[in-house]
Amino acid sequence: MTKITEHIIDIDTSLEPARDGAIELVPNPKTDSQKPQLIYLLLPCLFLLVTLLGGMRLGAADNAFFFLKPALICLVFASVLMILFFRSSLLQMDGWFSDRFSTLQNIANAALLLTMFTASTQLFNSLLPENGLPFWIVGFCFFWTLWNNLFADFDTKKLLRSLGALFGLAFAVKYLVLANLTATGDTSLLQRIFDNPAKEAFTWLLDLPRYSVGTGYIQFFAVAIYLIALFLTPSTTKK
């Protein structure tokens, strides 16, 4: 004998008034600050561009590409910077990684933060002088500032202002002051000493690398794009 079981299920009655029986598609409400295209497509592109440009230099003689790998200290500075981002609520941990998100979203968020980390590393690679005494002086200044910021009270705006000032000053020191002290002639050593002894002396004394003027332009845009990308980064990816 066939046994038939009937289950009556009461569903939530707090629904909209019925229409003519069709299933209605209701779009998710959009929030301007959290559009997925901005977060998962535009921001990675911006950070990847900074990652590419941060280590790029142009040779003085023939504008050949040089791709400088970041020093270990750049990774340390970038790690400290990421900690600062979370401490100052520029990024909220539960807004980026949560068990309420799907696995795919968590992975996508992790990928974006990875590009932010690599961009930060390359930014320090861009702003730190390559070698010699300037490397140690500027590196120490970065270390001092970041170390102080770790123990200071920051909100997002103050952190962004502080970073803007820090990176702006480092850029001016490296690509305006030190670049103008560097002799970039492609003639012989004796000819260069004869033409401009002061610049040759500074170049030798401070061990300044000889790069083309175009390097400064590239790094200017790298710093600007990084700061814009930071500004566009939402504190949370929750809807």
Binding site: T5, I23, Y40, L41, F66, L112
Partner: protein
């Protein structure tokens, strides 16, 4: 046999299901696209910093090497071979460099090393400034193809090890260098 029937009961009116299907799917695709973009972007940046190309053209050739589609420029190689046979070794090496900018072809590098040997060879003494880069080039050939053998019948030395031995002997100063019979030897 057992059958289960489920009856949905609401208030007097039929219910409406709120579905946000295709918008959730769109976000899922955006997540996937974002992850792929990051993976590809980081891979490309890592490739550039590992291969260190000097120009945009080198980016293309180094990409070919990585993808395994690298081929030499046959026209330049033929031009270089013609210059090599007419004893214009500097022009030949320039043509071989243009033919094989990534220095990945054993045959081209063998001819380059041979051009260093022929140009640097002397009846009384050899030119070390040419034999040394020749030795570096033939070492590269042996790395690219340890069993390389040239099919060119006009060359006396056909294998990399023969040429390497000749270059090494030419760089050394041995008692044999003072043998007067050395004046009768011929360039290979």
């Amino acid at each position: 046999m057992k059958a289960n029937f489920f009856i949905f009961r609401a208030s007097e009116k039929p219910c409406i299901l709120k579905v946000s299907g295709n918008y959730t799917m769109k976000e899922k695709y955006i997540h996937i696209l974002g992850i792929a973009l990051v993976a590809l972007g980081l891979g490309f940046v890592a490739f550039l910093y590992w291969s260190e190309p000097r120009t945009l053209a080198e980016v293309a050739t180094k990409s070919q090497v990585v993808l395994g589609t690298y081929e030499i420029n046959k026209d330049e190689f033929t031009r270089g071979l013609a210059l090599f046979r007419s004893d214009d070794f500097i022009g030949a090496r320039a043509a071989f460099d243009r033919a094989d900018p990534e220095k990945r072809d054993a045959n081209t590098q063998f001819y380059t090393a041979y051009s260093y040997y022929r140009q640097g060879w002397g009846r009384l003494s050899n030119d070390d400034t040419l034999f040394k880069p020749g030795l570096e080039t033939i070492d590269r050939v042996m790395i690219l193809d340890p069993n390389f053998r040239s099919s060119d019948e006009t060359l006396t030395m056909k294998t990399a090890s023969e040429l390497k031995n000749e270059l090494e002997e030419g760089l050394k100063l041995t008692p044999d260098d003072f043998n007067p019979m050395k004046l009768t030897r011929e360039r290979k």
